[in-house]
Symmetry: C2
DNA sequence: GATGGTTTAGACCGTCTGGTCTAATTGGAC
DNA sequence: GTCCAATTAGACCAGACGGTCTAAACCATC
């Protein structure tokens, strides 16, 4: 934790990473392959052709670089979901919402698998590390499916024999595992697989 | 890679780790919390109260220790599945097999969550590392569900609209995610959750 | 051109890493 | 007790790590 450095200045439009494209790429590359502790700052700097002085001047420390990078990724990921919310989405049709979310998640994953990997890798970091990152965002910034699931149970779309938390977990497991289900990444495959996954979540695999 | 050291001697009944219970515990602890590269050998040694000389004498290097530990874990995990195979299991009933596998996986996870974590963490290691480990086992040692799935598709238990590989992947995703679905770990909860998961995989979550 | 803040370069620091090596200790065979 | 191999202890090594710091370079303003 560096003194006299305001990490908040790294977020949003003034994110200094926007001015260092090579650093951004090098960071995403390294942090998607290794955990935060395992990733080598020296390696990132070498790849990006940046000096240590510059990095510490702009980002404070290793954590600052990670935070700045994550902010860009989060923004990128959200950009895949904004269209959904604008297109007059009917959030009362749970499975339609699920299918669109699944497709958006796959699009994001295919567009840059490194970012998808990085998101999943973050979930494996220590609680302290994740909490420290979360402290820079408002609590409801990352809303999960839990709310919609509860709604869908009440409206009778989801069978009430399952506890809502169970369903929410299952949905999140499938969303974070899309990379294991997509093969080529071609647009038509994504559409088909997204439909298939939702179909599976909806009706299961037994013969019908 | 250490010269003149036979890693194969670490496996099976003569696994030297069996003679160093504290080392075994320390290793499982560290390797379940950190990746192979991230884990600290010095920390393990300190915790186990063992000297560096001893470790390198018995295990060759860090990799040897990991291999020996993994061998014990694999054996432990298999011990949860042997009973299934012996009890005159009807492998033609896919969903019965699935439920028993699910329950065994949960039992294993609850008995020692560190081992379950470690198995999952291994899947995140580099391909080289995993291949190096796999080279010490016969190819069919870790059989997946793929064969049974294909069988179940042919016998009409699984809907043929899904590609068998898709179903196999989905099953493996759920099996590796049991820790996200089990809460207390009490025996009755495990039974219920195992049934619930299989029910979900079979029929989905839609109202019926 | 002079001034002064911003940015960059990279030598350097203490710490930790996995691994090596040698000397001391242990323990069974005779 | 003697011998010798197996085992243990831990000092030591080179290299990598994140981070600090100072001096140079840059650049806008006048």
């Amino acid at each position: 934790m560096r003194k006299n450095f305001d990490y908040h200045a790294l977020l949003g439009e003034k994110n200094p990473l926007l001015q260092f494209p090579k650093l951004k790429e090098a960071a995403i590359d390294e942090f998607s392959r290794k955990s935060f502790a395992e990733a080598s700052l020296n390696e990132i700097l070498k790849t990006a052709g940046m000096s240590k002085g510059s990095l510490y001047h702009h980002f404070g420390d290793k954590f600052g670089l990670y935070l700045a990078m994550l902010d860009l990724i989060v923004e990128k990921k959200l950009s895949y979901f904004y269209p959904l919310l604008q297109d007059g989405l009917d959030t009362s049709d749970f499975f339609d919402l699920l299918q669109k979310t699944m497709k958006a998640t796959m699009d994001f994953m295919v567009a840059d698998p490194r970012m998808h990997h990085l998101s999943n890798r973050l979930l494996e970091e220590s609680v302290e590390f994740r909490n420290r990152l979360l402290s820079f965002y408002t609590p409801d910034y990352f809303q999960t499916f839990a709310a919609y699931v509860r709604q869908a149970v009440e409206s009778g779309q989801i069978d009430s024999r399952y506890p809502p938390e169970f369903v929410a977990q299952v949905v999140e497991i499938m969303l974070s595992s899309v990379h294991k289900l997509v093969r080529t990444g071609e647009p038509e495959e994504l559409l088909e697989t997204a439909a298939q996954v939702v179909d599976f979540i909806k009706y299961g695999i037994s013969r019908r």
